[in-house]
Symmetry: C2
Subunit: 217 residues, 2 copies
């Protein structure tokens, strides 16, 4: 059965999913890249990005692999796609990831500003959609029976958490402090309305927690 998943969501000890002051130079906010070091130390994540090496079959690697498997379409927020604000104009922005983004399937970018689809190398096509419901409808269809992953950023994940869209969430708690940034949980978002802790496991560089939809949902 097709699911909506939030896999590989990394947060700091103080609860931030991105650092402060996001910019072209710091797309994950200042210090935000530390949240993803655990993933880029794994073979599965490095392989996806065309990089050699990495830990194989470690706890972190198994969670990284799990976060990537069985995904037929991805949804990302506008900030995760790029730093351009307002209308697209002739910005020519084609995402943070170069000519061959590491998705290899349709990716739906949330934006109020219409834009023609962008077909990239390696099977990724960026589609531009307005609103969470439209993104979910389009991504479900495009995924062809596979799961739909809401990949980020933090504000987008919170938007889908608020409407209880996820069937499953995998959160990686990373032992760093960011001090400021965008929180993933709390701040008025009550996760107990839809989710409960299903499993957790200590990895080499992160602690992994799986949240599942509560039975009463």
């Amino acid at each position: 059965m097709q699911r909506i998943v939030g896999h590989g969501l990394s947060i700091s000890l103080d609860g931030f999913a991105a650092g402060p002051d996001q910019s072209h130079e710091a797309p994950l906010g200042v210090g935000g890249e530390k949240l993803h070091e655990w993933a880029f130390a794994t073979r599965s994540m490095r392989h996806l990005h065309g990089m050699e090496g990495g830990d194989e079959d470690s706890v972190d690697d198994r969670w990284a692999r799990r976060s990537l498997e069985g995904i037929g379409a991805t949804i990302v927020g506008r900030n995760m796609f790029g730093p351009v604000r307002g209308a697209w104009g002739d910005s020519g922005w084609r995402g943070w990831w170069g000519d061959a983004p590491p998705f290899h399937h349709p990716v739906f970018v949330l934006t109020h500003h219409a834009r023609e689809p962008l077909e990239m190398q390696g099977g990724t096509t960026f589609h531009f959609v307005d609103g969470a419901d439209a993104a979910l409808d389009s991504a479900r269809e495009a995924a062809g029976g596979l799961d739909v992953r809401v990949a980020g950023g933090a504000t987008t994940v919170r938007q889908f958490l608020a409407i209880g869209a996820f069937d499953e969430l995998h959160v990686a708690i990373v032992p760093v402090l960011l001090g400021r940034g965008t929180p993933l949980f709390g701040h008025g978002l009550d996760l107990t309305e839809h989710y409960e802790v299903a499993r957790w496991e200590a990895g080499e560089r992160a602690h992994h927690v799986l949240l599942a939809r509560t039975q009463r949902d």
Copy 2:
């Protein structure tokens, strides 16, 4: 050297150190008792409270023991001492813990309302002090060279975090969701100003993180 420590601070996955709606019936807030189950499953904590059994020399037990050793005085917020608000009057409130509280040393209760010290059984005496600085001064002296522990609640710990009072913090991340409550970190409190992650370890029922004062401090 005498230190100010925040040991055994338990938070939920969504970052809360106490549940919502604290009351006489729910001193830790609704659901807040779940944050302390890891500690009460250990022999060290059970022993302190005069209870039998518990895991011995498990990872959680070692952290529980570490949180209790070498402490000569404790500081607690008014809410952690009791539900009485405003002037003490003739409330007769003597703390949540019965006649023999599990401290066995001087305990300094933050309150704007003066009150005579309360000598309890087993070596605990409650002293009532106005303000964090006064509490620190009195507790340092009373501890006689041992460490001073700021035990809670969350609002009190945040108050001491804000002034960079801690030399060391031990935070236990517990795999439960509370949804609402009192956060320990974030919400304007930038931990990176004073602290960094020194160590972390997965226990049986909680993940333990040790924060130490940064070198530049």
